[in-house]
């Protein structure tokens, strides 16, 4: 543990290259490849840090002025998933997230408790996120590691449960989405769909995705959204024309650059992720597997885009008027597709149902994001993100507002019992699914022989 703490103490821009290099050697990538990968990941990290600096330093003062002028208490800046993932991977637990995620996945495959092989190592940042928050909250790295372990189980079980939708509705054969943001909302969509079905009048409301996209499509482009929001907040802050327009262009810059610098991090991780995937695939017995992929594959679906376009202003409105919320939604407004993309198949593409459920889920999520923001901010500081003195607090919608974040945090308050309890519940679901599948197979083969 001492060595680990020393390496983490070097700061993520040094630690991540070392960890990635060592992990690369472990999964038998070429040393030169492992070295390049490590360095590129470090570069991506520094790049994200720069862009977040721009975001916090320019939007922060505007948010402050808006708060003192209008009295809306939105002082916590939503820095978005790119920063959240970098902060997560940059934590002590984050350094272990990839081995933990892969290890749990292989073990569950071995015992037949999942059918998903997650080759999307990038998205292990979700378990790093909850792990990092819990370790800060409890002061125990071991608790953080257990959190990451349990969170992996939850995500894999939910990926199996939603696989049929990914395959049938989105049309990706043999694919599932072991994605920390998208999968939990499936469990919210199921009961909501029953509710919608039982209310006469609401039952038949629909909205046409193509029309919405045609009318509002331009606002869905991240840089345009950044410009509009930046300028809008400048006006609300009472800034002059020059300051307001500058803020608009700065926010457009953030929106355009965030995915660009994040893709550098991704580029570094890719060769290692492939080497690890090949190694695991080689060792596993041939059988019917789902390949675990990023739910980004579903983001372009018309119903997903249309619902997002409608949800962006609704979420901003909720944030302004929801008592107890302090989060100013910003960078993750364009990440809403990830929140709703596994609701959409449950609602059979019904935009109205998706928007209502999304608004409720994100509204509740804003409270979660507000609650975790002190831990989030100290995780960011631990990861070497620099904030000016007295700067705003930060948080994010993805995964700051995701139900599993709340579940893991509150479970950790009960100690190991809480965390392990949740793990057992999800393992029980997995084992029930396994038995059900075995029974179905037996019946169909009996039918065949008869």
């Amino acid at each position: 543990m001492d060595i680990l703490e020393y390496i983490v103490g070097l700061g993520p821009s040094v630690m991540l290259p070392i960890i990635i290099f060592l992990f690369g050697l472990l999964v038998k990538a070429k040393p030169s490849t492992a070295f390049r990968s490590g360095l590129i990941v470090g570069i991506g990290f520094v790049g994200i840090n720069l862009v977040i600096g721009l975001l916090v330093n320019s939007l922060g003062p505007a948010a402050k002025d808006m708060v003192s002028r209008l009295g809306v208490e939105l002082s916590i800046i939503d820095v978005g998933w790119p920063a959240t993932s970098a902060i997560s991977f940059g934590s002590t637990v984050g350094a272990l997230a990839i081995p933990i995620g892969l290890g749990v996945n292989v073990a569950m495959l071995f015992f037949g408790l999942t059918k998903t092989l997650n080759v999307d190592l990038w998205n292990l940042w979700h378990i790093a996120f909850t792990g990092a928050l819990v370790s800060i909250l409890t002061g125990s790295i071991t608790m953080g590691i257990v959190t990451a372990l349990v969170h992996t189980i939850i995500i894999l079980v939910l990926a199996d449960l939603t696989a049929k939708h990914v395959q049938e509705y989105y049309g990706y054969p043999n694919v599932s989405f072991p994605h920390g943001t998208s999968t939990p909302y499936y469990l919210i969509a199921l009961p909501m769909n029953k509710v919608f079905d039982s209310i006469p009048g609401i039952k038949n409301i629909k909205a046409d995705p193509d029309t919405i996209q045609k009318r509002l499509g331009v606002f869905g482009e991240p840089m345009v959204l950044g410009l509009i929001l930046g300028a809008f907040i400048g006006v609300l802050a009472g800034w002059n024309v020059q300051e307001t327009l500058t803020l608009g262009v700065q926010m457009a810059t953030v929106m355009l650059l965030l995915p660009r610098v994040t893709s550098i991090l991704m580029e570094g991780l890719m060769p290692i992720s492939e080497a690890a995937g090949d190694l695991v695939k080689k060792r596993l017995p041939e059988r019917d597997l789902y390949i675990g992929m990023d739910s980004a594959l579903a983001v372009g679906h018309p119903a997903v885009i249309a619902s997002t376009l409608l949800l962006i202003p609704i979420v901003l409105g909720i944030a302004a008027f929801l008592p107890g919320n302090k989060v100013l939604p910003f960078a993750d407004l364009v990440t809403i597709p990830f929140i709703i993309c596994l609701m959409v198949p449950v609602f059979r593409g019904n935009v109205f149902r998706t928007v209502v459920t999304g608004a409720v889920a994100i509204g509740i999520g804003l409270w979660i994001a507000t609650y975790i923001s002190p831990f989030f901010t100290s995780a960011a500081k631990n990861a070497g993100f620099q904030f000016p003195e007295g700067a705003s607090q930060i948080s994010s919608l993805v995964d700051g507002a995701v139900p599993t974040t709340a579940i893991m945090i509150f479970a950790s308050k009960l100690g190991y019992v809480g965390l392990v309890g949740i793990g057992i519940i999800f393992l029980a679901i997995a084992s029930y699914q396994k038995k059900k599948a075995a029974r179905a197979e037996k019946e169909s083969s009996e039918e065949f022989t008869a």
Binding site: Q213, K214, E221, L258, S263, D294, L297, V299, P302
Partner: protein
């Protein structure tokens, strides 16, 4: 004139990076000259006219009239060769 390809996914950060990398290698091997740009689905809905070909890992709106090739097989590895063939054919046409 070399053709312009947009490589896109939901965010312009994750899966499109993987496709970008593999596609660039493929184009080098085949010595096909083309200009590649990484982007996201929301941006492409407004700028598709600037490109000759769109290679995407996600659904693209119906309003986009540029030829779109589905690149998911390149991610999963199942049927990737067919996708590369399709891209090559499109670029040589």
């Amino acid at each position: 004139m070399s053709k312009k390809i947009a490589v896109i996914c939901g965010t312009g950060a994750a899966t499109s990076t993987i496709i970008m990398n593999k596609l660039t290698k493929f184009l080098e091997e085949k010595q096909i000259k083309a200009r590649t740009t990484q982007s996201n689905v929301n941006a492409i809905a407004n700028s598709y006219e600037d490109y000759d070909l769109i290679v995407s890992t996600t659904h693209v709106p119906n309003s986009v009239t540029t030829k779109v090739i589905n690149a998911v097989p390149i991610l999963t590895g199942i049927g990737a060769d067919k996708v590369y063939d399709e891209i090559e054919k499109e670029l040589n046409s």
